[in-house]
Amino acid sequence: MQTFSKEASLLLISPDGNWQKIVHNAWANAGKVDMEVDLEQALQRISVCLSRKRPYELIIMDVWATPDIAESIAAIRQLQPDVRIVVASAGPTWKQAREAFDAGAVDFIVKSLDAGELQTSLQRARHITPPWRTQIS
């Protein structure tokens, strides 16, 4: 199993108790995990962390926590443009996936992933240059 640096900080936005536990376990050796159940509270927490100069490295957003994936990602990026965002869904559809990537998510994952797969996905997500930072000629 992969491990993360102690500094790695993650914010999970999800009202799903089971999923919270799974993410917590997957990130247990990695560092700090903060949880919020909806976007509004998550945005407040992101602002507080930024004011303390401790920005999140990764944010996982459950589609249950938001009525609009693209708007939610835009709201997060307005506060912290560089953060990598992973969108998670229990009942994934191709339109959800497209909306997530179009808005700048670095991954779209299914909540049925086991802890190992989840760790692999999150580890990979941490090392992706967010698409909006890449220059293409």
Partner: protein
């Protein structure tokens, strides 16, 4: 002129015509392909800007047929910047994940994912979006070339020796490259510029924008990987580290076979600068020494002031690898063939004879006055580590190809390097060694090998960097000047932390061997062969010097 070329890849030819019509109405030129193989062929030859690809290209009814997506992924592996749009009649989230998930550099295999059921309007909108934000090809740009330049002439320079039809095709590709690179101007006046080495070509370009004209800049274009390496090295080692007389202002652009990078001068006029080769010929040794001071103490000071690192590679192995002496056409057999060829033509080189046996211990030269000298056979030293230095070897960031064509100097004697394709960590004296080799074998004009022999003897008399050696036995002003400049260059080298003259001589040995083996022989013996004979003489004399060194340790 069309707005761009689009390849539609769909196993159902009957699904293509109405999309073709919609895209042609928008001003695009459309090509068609029906299988992955067909798509690859059209992609390679069609100067395509965007591909619209169906997921199922083999079996419409097989939900596991993702051959279209696999084709997109294979193109992405090779050309990460090339844009594709996935178009499918059977959308599901897994192919969206694969097609749109960005790689480590943030680039996804596909720019968009569209269901066939979403209608033509959405497809056209997606295509326009990709052309606007990714392809960025400037069809409004007008080019004015200084005679005899043209896109065909540039392609000709880049693809010398290929069929006319290939060059014609490549000329269109070069035009595409320039239209991508210069995406926000309305006119470009293109003139020739000082050329570097190694298959790339440089041009001086002055752009005109709607608000006025810009300063001239250098556009360097060449083989895709080579220029991409330069772009990457520039970002990694040069930007912010080399005094900014030269700055990269625009992103570089790529096509299938070529890349281009743009340099813009700050505080300098291009017409006031010249390559070191012509600067050397038109200036005194004192001027040149001041220019070298400037180059190493000012322009490159951040490289030479940095902390050295220890490499795990020997000096011998490093130079062999960097100079390509491990490759077959520059390998041991190639060097032996060159020495044999020079031996057979000794009389044309101004020698009575050169005696060489492949496995013999010595190489013997007999000059016209009858004097005979013997030195060690350089083959075991160059290819078999007869004398080996390191590991570890101290390294720091070096230019990696510092020669008379890769340094520009201005009227005030200020100088800075260009061409960063080989820039990276290397032995601390690598740049000094390469510049000395360039002076010895390229800038010296003397062709009398007996004079050159005496010149080499003097240069190898140095026991340490700061020793004061008076030039003796050669009177030509050309060699006197070279000696003075090299003497100063060595003093500059001695200022680098960890500088060792033994390492310096070892580097010179490999550079000399490279001169002998690197350029293809011509049918007629000429200046190039005298240069090779000089380098061979130098290499074998350095071997003796290295032996003496080992003996005195």
């Amino acid at each position: 002129m069309s707005k761009g070329r689009i390849l539609i890849v769909d196993n159902r030819p009957d699904h293509i015509p109405f999309r073709r019509q919609a895209l042609e109405r928008e001003g695009y030129e459309v090509r068609e392909a029906y299988t992955p193989e067909d798509a690859s062929e059209k992609f390679e030859t069609g100067l395509i800007h965007l591909a619209i690809v169906d997921i199922r290209l083999k079996d419409e009814n097989d939900e596991k047929d993702w051959s279209g997506l696999e084709w997109v992924e294979s193109v992405h592996q090779q050309y990460p910047e090339f844009p594709c749009i996935i178009l499918t009649g059977f959308p599901s989230y897994e192919p969206v994940q694969r097609a749109r998930k960005p790689d480590e550099k943030g680039l996804p295999p596909a720019e968009d994912f569209i269901s066939k059921g979403e209608g033509l309007e959405l497809l056209v909108k997606a295509v326009n979006n990709v052309f606007l934000n990714k392809v960025k090809i400037n069809y409004n740009l007008k080019f004015y070339f200084e005679w005899p330049l043209s896109f065909f002439a540039i392609a000709d320079a880049l693809e010398a020796g290929t069929e006319v039809e290939t060059r014609r095709q490549r000329a269109l590709e070069v035009e595409d490259l320039f239209r991508k690179l210069l995406s926000d101007s309305i006119q470009a006046v293109v003139r020739s510029a000082p050329q570097g080495r190694g298959g790339a070509t440089s041009l001086q370009v002055r752009l005109v924008f709607t608000g006025g004209s810009g300063e001239p800049m250098i556009v360097k274009c060449g083989p895709r990987r080579r220029i991409a390496a330069e772009n990457s090295n520039y970002t990694r080692y040069v930007a912010g580290r080399v005094e900014p007389y030269y700055a990269q202002k625009l992103p570089f652009a790529q096509t299938l076979h070529y890349s281009a990078i743009t340099y813009y001068m700050i505080g300098e006029k291009l017409e006031d600068t010249q390559q070191f080769s012509s600067y050397y010929r038109t200036h005194t040794s004192e001027d040149i020494q001041r220019t070298l001071d400037y180059l190493f103490f000012d322009t490159l000071k951040f490289w030479y002031r940095a902390q050295c690192q220890q490499s795990e590679e020997s000096l011998n192995s490093f130079y062999r690898r960097q100079l390509g002496l491990t490759e077959e056409h520059h390998g041991e057999d190639a060097l032996i063939r060159e020495i044999q060829r020079l031996s057979q033509n000794a009389e044309y080189l101004g020698l009575l004879r050169i005696e060489f046996k492949r496995d013999g211990p010595d190489l013997t030269f007999q000059f016209l006055d009858g004097r005979t000298v013997s030195y060690p056979n350089p083959i075991p030293y160059v290819y078999h580590d007869r004398r080996k230095l390191g590991p570890p070897v101290l390294t720091l960031v070096t230019h990696g190809d510092l020669n008379e064509d890769n340094i520009l100097a201005d009227r005030d004697g200020r100088a800075w390097p260009v061409d960063f394709e080989r820039t990276g960590y290397g032995p601390v004296l690598r740049d000094f060694v390469e510049l000395e080799a360039a002076i010895r074998f390229d800038l010296v004009e003397t062709t009398d090998l007996q004079q050159l022999y005496t010149f080499e003897e003097c240069l190898l008399a140095f026991g340490d960097f700061t020793e004061s050696i008076q030039p003796q036995g050669f009177e030509s002003a050309d060699l006197q000047k070279a000696f003075a400049v090299i003497n100063h260059l060595r003093w500059l080298a001695s200022q680098v932390p960890g500088a060792s003259l033994e390492e310096y001589y070892m580097g010179l040995l490999f550079d000399a061997a490279w001169v002998v083996v690197s350029r293809p022989p011509r049918e007629q013996i000429g200046r190039e062969d005298i240069r090779k004979a000089h380098a061979l003489l130098s290499a074998t004399m350095i071997c003796r010097r290295l032996e003496d060194w080992a003996g005195t340790r």
